[in-house]
C-alpha cells in the first residue's frame, strides 16, 4: 500500500521534470561526451590536469579572456589546483597589478599578491571588444556554467575547428567550428600540438590541452564542487538514516490506531 503510493509520488515528481529535461536538447549537434573525473556523485578534479590547465589558460587564453571573479589565492585552496603557498605567491607576483592611488594621488603598478583578483587583459569590455574584431572574448570565470552542455561543450569547441564545408562563406576573422552554435566563431584556433611545454612531461597534444584547460575552467566555475559532493554524500546518508528511524517510529505510533496506515 505505502510502497505503491510512494512509487506514484515519485513518478509524479519525475513527470513534472519532463518539460525541464527537454530544454537541454537543442538544435546544434551534440558535443563530444568526455569522461570527466569531476562527473558523478563523487567526482573530484584531477589536480595535475588542473595545474596543466592553468598553465594553458595563463599562456594561451589569458591574453584575451579575463577571469575576473578568481583570485590568485584560489589556486592554492583545497579542491582546486592546490599549488603550494610558494607557487601561488610566485604566480601572483609574475603579474603587474595596478594599485593606488598613492599618497600623491597617482596610480602605480606593483607585483601581484595572492589576494589580488586575476589580472584582466583589457581595461574594460569595450577595449576587449575593439581589440578582437568586435567580438568580446567572454569572461571565463563561470563560462562552463554559462554554456549549455557545460564542460563537454567547451571541450568540443576547442577541438571542433574545421575547414568550412562547401557552400559556407566566412567573413574575415570568422572561423568555422562544428560544435559552436551557428558554426561561426570569432576566436581563431589557438591550440596546436606542442604549443605549451608541460613541466610534468605530459605530451601537449591539442586534445590534452583542451581537456586540461576545460578541467581548469570547470573548477573555476564551480570551485565548491568537491566540497559539495563530499558534503552531499554525508547529508544523503544522514537523511536516509533519519528517514528510516522516523518511518519506524511512525509505524510504532500508528500501530496503536491503525496497523496499516
Amino acid at each position: 500500500m505505502i510502497k505503491s503510493k510512494i512509487i506514484r509520488l515519485f513518478s509524479l515528481v519525475l513527470l513534472s521534470f519532463l518539460p525541464v529535461k527537454s530544454l537541454y536538447s537543442a538544435e546544434m549537434i551534440d558535443p563530444i561526451k568526455v569522461d570527466w573525473s569531476f562527473k558523478g556523485l563523487t567526482g573530484t578534479f584531477d589536480r595535475a590536469s588542473l595545474q596543466r590547465g592553468f598553465q594553458v589558460y595563463k599562456e594561451v587564453c589569458s591574453s584575451c579572456h579575463s577571469m575576473q571573479y578568481l583570485s590568485y589565492r584560489n589556486l592554492g585552496e583545497p579542491g582546486g589546483p592546490e599549488f603550494s603557498k610558494e607557487e601561488v605567491k610566485a604566480i601572483a607576483s609574475s603579474f603587474e597589478i595596478q594599485d593606488g592611488p598613492d599618497d600623491q594621488g597617482e596610480m602605480f603598478t606593483r607585483p601581484g599578491k595572492p589576494s589580488d583578483k586575476f589580472k584582466n587583459p583589457y581595461p574594460n569590455v569595450q577595449a576587449a571588444t575593439a581589440a578582437n574584431g568586435g567580438a568580446y572574448p567572454p569572461d571565463m570565470s563561470v563560462l562552463v556554467k554559462a554554456r549549455k552542455g557545460g564542460a563537454n561543450y567547451i571541450y568540443s569547441v576547442l577541438v571542433g575547428y574545421e575547414d568550412p564545408p562547401a557552400g559556407v562563406t566566412l567573413d574575415e576573422g570568422v572561423y568555422y567550428n562544428k560544435y559552436m552554435i551557428g558554426n561561426k566563431i570569432k576566436m581563431p584556433n589557438n591550440l596546436i600540438d606542442g604549443l605549451v611545454e608541460y613541466s610534468d612531461g605530459t605530451e601537449s597534444t591539442v586534445n590534452q590541452m583542451a581537456k586540461d584547460v576545460t578541467t581548469f575552467l570547470a573548477w573555476a566555475a564551480e570551485p565548491e564542487l568537491e566540497t559539495r559532493h563530499k558534503t552531499g554524500i554525508k547529508v544523503m546518508i544522514y537523511l536516509i538514516l533519519l528517514t528510516i528511524l522516523v518511518y519506524l517510529s511512525m509505524k510504532k505510533i500508528w500501530s496503536r490506531i491503525d496497523p496499516k496506515i
Binding site: 565548491e224 500508528w254 491503525d258
Partner: protein
C-alpha cells in the same frame, strides 16, 4: 470547533494564558482532530511550510551578502558562491528551494482538485491558497531577476512588458514599474525590496490559510464530512506530525539531491552570463514552474489577448468552487470526473513542455489545443460532468469502507443525496 476547554497545569502557565491564550492555541494545534485516513498527498501542507521557512531563512542570509545594484549584483553572487563561508550551499538551497516550493505547491493544488478540497465549506481556504500561489509567482519572478544574468534581465523585460498590453495606460505603468525607460538599476533595486517583502505577506496568508482550515477541519480522501473528534479522527500530534515528518524527509532527500549533485539543472545556463541590454538570448524561457502559463501566453497571436488569457488561466481557479456542480467531493467516487482530472494533469504537463519549446510549428498547435482544453475543463467539463455523472456510492464514515460491500447501494445513494 469541538475542542475541549484547555487549562494549563502550572500556575504561571494559567496566569499567562489568561492574559494571552497562546497555550490554548498550542493545545488546539496539538489536539486538532484530523481524519485518520489522510494519505501522503496530504503531507504537502507541512512540506510547503518547511519550504517557506527555508526560503525565508536562506533568503535573509543571502541578503546579508548580496548587493542590489546593476553593476554589482552579478559579482556579489559570485562573491557569495566563492568567498562567503557556505555561501554556495545557502544560495543553492535558495535557488533550488524555489523549484521545490513550486513542485510541492503544484502537488498540493492538484490534490485539492482531485479530492474536491476546494468545495463547500472550504472555498475560503482555496482562495487564500490561490493568493499565496500568486504571491509565490511574484516572489519567484523577482528573485530570478536578482542575479542580474541574461535570463534575469530578459525575463524581467518580457514580464514587465505584459503590462504594456493594457490599453491607454499600459506604457505609463511599465515605465512606472521600471523606474526608468527600460529594465535598469532602479528596477533591480525595487525588485529586491519587494522580493524581501513578499515572503512575509505569504507567511501572513499561510496563517489565515491554516486558520480557515481549522474551522471546518481537513477534507479527506473519502471526501465526506466527519464528526470531530470521533473514531474517524486522530490528534494532530503525534499521528500527523510524525507522518508529515516522514514525508518531509523523503522530500528533503530529493531536495538535497538537487542541491548537492545537480544544483544548476533546473536553472538556465544563460543566467550565468551577465545581463546585457543589447543582446537578447536566443530562447527566453521562464523557470519551469511558469512554463504552462507561458505556453498559454504565446498560444494567442494577439498581444492583449495573450495577456488576458494568461491571467484568466489563473483567475478562473478562483471561481472553481462555483463552477463545480458535483455534490460529491472526492474523485474517488466520481468515475467520469476522475478521467477528466487526469486529462487536465496531462494537459498542464504538455503546456509546460511546449512552453519550453520555440513557439512555432507543431508546438504552437499543441499550445493552442492545450490552452483550449485547459479552459474547457473548468468552464464546461466541471459544471456539466457534475450534473450528468452517476457517482459511486459514498460510505457513511471513514471506518466503514463501502467499496468492500459494507453499505447497501440503496443506502449509499440516500447518503449521496444528502451530502
Amino acid at each position: 470547533m469541538s475542542d475541549h476547554e484547555y487549562t494549563p497545569k502550572s500556575k504561571a502557565g494559567k496566569w499567562f494564558n489568561d492574559r494571552l491564550p497562546l497555550l490554548t492555541l498550542g493545545a488546539h494545534l496539538t489536539d486538532y482532530p484530523t481524519p485518520k485516513n489522510l494519505n501522503y498527498w496530504w503531507t504537502f501542507g507541512g512540506i510547503l511550510t518547511f519550504c517557506l521557512m527555508t526560503q525565508i531563512v536562506t533568503g535573509i542570509i543571502l541578503a546579508m551578502h548580496y548587493v542590489a545594484h546593476a553593476d554589482l549584483a552579478f559579482a556579489s553572487i559570485e562573491h557569495i558562491m566563492r568567498d562567503v563561508n557556505y555561501g554556495w550551499l545557502i544560495r543553492y538551497i535558495h535557488s533550488n528551494g524555489a523549484s521545490m516550493f513550486f513542485l510541492a505547491v503544484y502537488i498540493h493544488i492538484f490534490r485539492s482538485l482531485f479530492y474536491g478540497s476546494y468545495k463547500s465549506p472550504r472555498e475560503v481556504i482555496w482562495i487564500i491558497g490561490l493568493l499565496i500561489y500568486l504571491l509565490m509567482m511574484a516572489a519567484a519572478f523577482m528573485g530570478y531577476v536578482l542575479p542580474w544574468g541574461q535570463m534575469s534581465f530578459w525575463g524581467a523585460t518580457v514580464i514587465t512588458n505584459l503590462f504594456s498590453a493594457i490599453p491607454l495606460v499600459g506604457d505609463s505603468i511599465t515605465t512606472w514599474l521600471w523606474g526608468a525607460y527600460s529594465v535598469d538599476n532602479p528596477t533591480l533595486n525595487r525588485f529586491f525590496s519587494l522580493h524581501y517583502l513578499i515572503p512575509f505577506l505569504i507567511l501572513g496568508l499561510v496563517v489565515l490559510h491554516i486558520w480557515a482550515l481549522h474551522v471546518p477541519g481537513n477534507n479527506n480522501p473519502v471526501g465526506i464530512d466527519i464528526k470531530k473528534p470521533s473514531k474517524d479522527t486522530v490528534p494532530f500530534h503525534p499521528y500527523i506530525t510524525i507522518k508529515d515528518a516522514f514525508a518531509l524527509l523523503m522530500f528533503m532527500i530529493i531536495f538535497a539531491g538537487f542541491v548537492f549533485f545537480v544544483p544548476n539543472v533546473l536553472g538556465h545556463s544563460d543566467n550565468y552570463i551577465p545581463a546585457n541590454p543589447m543582446v537578447t538570448p536566443a530562447h527566453i524561457v521562464p523557470e519551469w514552474y511558469l512554463l504552462p502559463f507561458y505556453a498559454i501566453l504565446r498560444s494567442v497571436p494577439d498581444k492583449l489577448g495573450g495577456v488576458i488569457l494568461m491571467f484568466s488561466a489563473i483567475f478562473i481557479l478562483f471561481v472553481l468552487p462555483w463552477l463545480d456542480t458535483s455534490k460529491v467531493r472526492s474523485a474517488v467516487f466520481r468515475p467520469l470526473y476522475r478521467q477528466f482530472f487526469w486529462i487536465l494533469v496531462i494537459d498542464v504537463l504538455m503546456l509546460g513542455y511546449v512552453g519550453a519549446m520555440p513557439a512555432e510549428g507543431i508546438y504552437l498547435v499543441l499550445a493552442r489545443v492545450g490552452t483550449v482544453y485547459y479552459f474547457l475543463h473548468f468552464i464546461v467539463v466541471m459544471p456539466v460532468v457534475g450534473y450528468l455523472e452517476k457517482t459511486d456510492p459514498v460510505p457513511m464514515s471513514i471506518s466503514e469502507p463501502v467499496l468492500s460491500g459494507g453499505v447497501k447501494p440503496s443506502l449509499a445513494r440516500k447518503i449521496n443525496d444528502k451530502v
